[in-house]
């Protein structure tokens, strides 16, 4: 396969046989798609009340497909008034609640400045004042991100925010923290300066000691840069998305000492509950 290819010459066209075969294959597959019969499905009329995409769905009973099931599962867990509520329990009236959104806001700036840094390449910020400024935004936004995230962690701990089925939210929060540390670590390794050199040399012993140094080589700039700008950010952002979705699904935890009791779930009390949030305004 590594020998030079054979070329077909015709008038001004000069094309290699592999390229020609690929294009011919595409033409054949497209022709087959036009001509071959497609497996039939039982056709049913669209009900008058529903439109495609309605949350009620329009699948015939007994024929609910994966898409419908996923859509219904999401709709049941995240109705719009829970996903984007315009009211919150009065007890969220504290500065401690702003650290989470502060961390996400800092992340927005980290990603925005990171995209600019990636676009211009890893050397740009060392040789350009504009690049240095963008890198500085990136650097300080990372500091702000961890600043807010740690304060958010402290706040959630002292509120025992894992109560009432919210342990999964806490768990994903810890995952975000751990993965963000890895993301920051690969960022420090990608700086291309004295700090990065020494962190790589100093840190290799820990990585090697647990047997992963042969495939996670922190002396390999290319590997660390790739992880830093692509895979790890994708992981952090995805986990934050799950974390927020869980928070919106469960709602903010009730204060310690003002918690719901068993009778809140009795049929009588359920029947007497009011709006979606079941809450009265102050």
């Amino acid at each position: 396969m590594d020998t030079p290819a054979t070329y077909v010459h015709w008038m001004f066209i000069d094309i290699s046989v592999p390229n020609l075969l690929l294009i011919l294959l595409m033409l054949v597959v497209f022709a087959m798609a036009l001509l071959l019969p497609f497996p039939r499905h039982k056709a049913t009329p669209l009900s008058a009340e529903s439109e495609p995409g309605d949350s009620e769905g329009n699948a015939v009973a007994g024929e609910r497909n994966w898409t419908a099931r996923l859509r219904d599962a999401i709709s049941a867990r995240w109705p719009w008034n829970q996903l984007l509520p315009d009211r919150q329990p009065a007890y969220v009236h504290s500065w401690v609640y702003v650290f989470g959104i502060g961390a996400i806001a800092a992340l927005v700036w980290i990603v925005a400045s990171g995209v600019v840094l990636v676009f211009f390449g890893p050397t740009w910020w060392h040789i350009s004042s504009a690049g240095r400024f963008v890198n500085s935004i990136h650097y300080w936004s990372v500091q702000a991100f961890f600043f807010c995230m740690v304060l958010h962690l402290w706040g959630q701990y002292w509120m025992a925010a894992w109560r009432h089925g919210r342990a999964i939210v806490w768990f994903f929060g810890v995952l975000i923290f751990a993965l963000a540390i890895g993301e920051a670590f690969t960022g420090y390794l990608s700086q291309q300066n004295l700090d990065a050199q020494w962190i790589a040399l100093n840190g290799k012993d820990a990585i090697n000691s647990i047997g992963v140094g042969s495939f996670f080589n922190i002396l390999d700039y290319g590997q660390m840069f790739g992880l830093h700008v692509m895979l790890l950010p994708l992981g952090v952002v995805s986990l934050i998305g799950i974390h927020i979705a869980l928070v919106r699904m469960k709602g903010v935890v009730r204060p310690i000492g003002d918690e719901p009791d068993e009778s809140d779930a009795s049929p009588a009390s359920t029947a007497s509950s009011g709006s979606t949030t079941g809450a009265t305004t102050r």
Partner: protein, 320 residues
Amino acid sequence: MKASKMDQRRYFRGVPTISYDLIKEFVVAIVVMGLIGLGLAAVFSSPDEPSVNIKSWSNADPVDFVTTASAELAGTSNSAVYGPPYSNGSAAVQAIGPFVPQQWAGDAMHLDTAQTFVLGPLSSMSGNDTALATALSKYKAATSDQQQTWITNYSNALANATVANGAVTVASGDYGPVPDLMAAELKLAQNGSLDGILLTSPGRFYQTNYSAPLLFMGDGGYLASLVQQQHLLGSQWGMMNETGQYPGQTWLWLYTLWYQIPPFNSASNVDLLVVLLMGFLTFLLAIVPFIPILRDIPRWIPIHRLIWRRSNYTPQERRA
């Protein structure tokens, strides 16, 4: 039904609410964080202590470079005897009893320091240098014991070496061709050729893996002396520090702490111990909701009363 099983309607029954604009809060947070980030960037910029390369090292401290290169040639440097993943050695292999994860991958990134750092680069440059070719031939033809004797004698003599015009000179002795090899190696390093050779050999053009030159520089004392001035050594809480006056990875404070205190700071397997300990502590943090005492502390120390101030909200109106 437990509170954990309630839907939101039941869970928040009777809880007073306030108008709360999440989107507006998010937008305001982005603006505030932007102002903070831009302001700090404009006033303080960001750290960027220039990197070191083999050229700058060999010019700044030729004796340290030659001493290190001699150790690489002799196979006695830290990298040469390190063990997995660079060799089958054992000097840096860390274990807890029979648990030795460092050996699992073997020498997957095999590194022959004599060949990679010294003999290989010198051989590539010996085509037009008869004296260097002769010295290389003489060295390679000698027995291993003879080679070690030459290098040991030369390394001992380097303790009293002098530097003139960038060249290293030692007292006369039984060094064989080693001084000639080291002189050529130093010249190769000082003109910058060695930096390129270590990255591009064998026969590559594109390269992003800096393992070889970094390990070479790490075996010397020059880089360590520079970072010591910046308080970056492991014994100086270095992993959480940054060059200059800037904050570093402060979130690594607990990881870094263990390296400073007994029994970790004197353990030969300190890295393995600390990594496993931090992994365990991170796991504990993740399952705090299920650990008695840890999960109860917030009730016992009522900091929550400062967060959920009764003056800020009316507790649930109990049913009549």
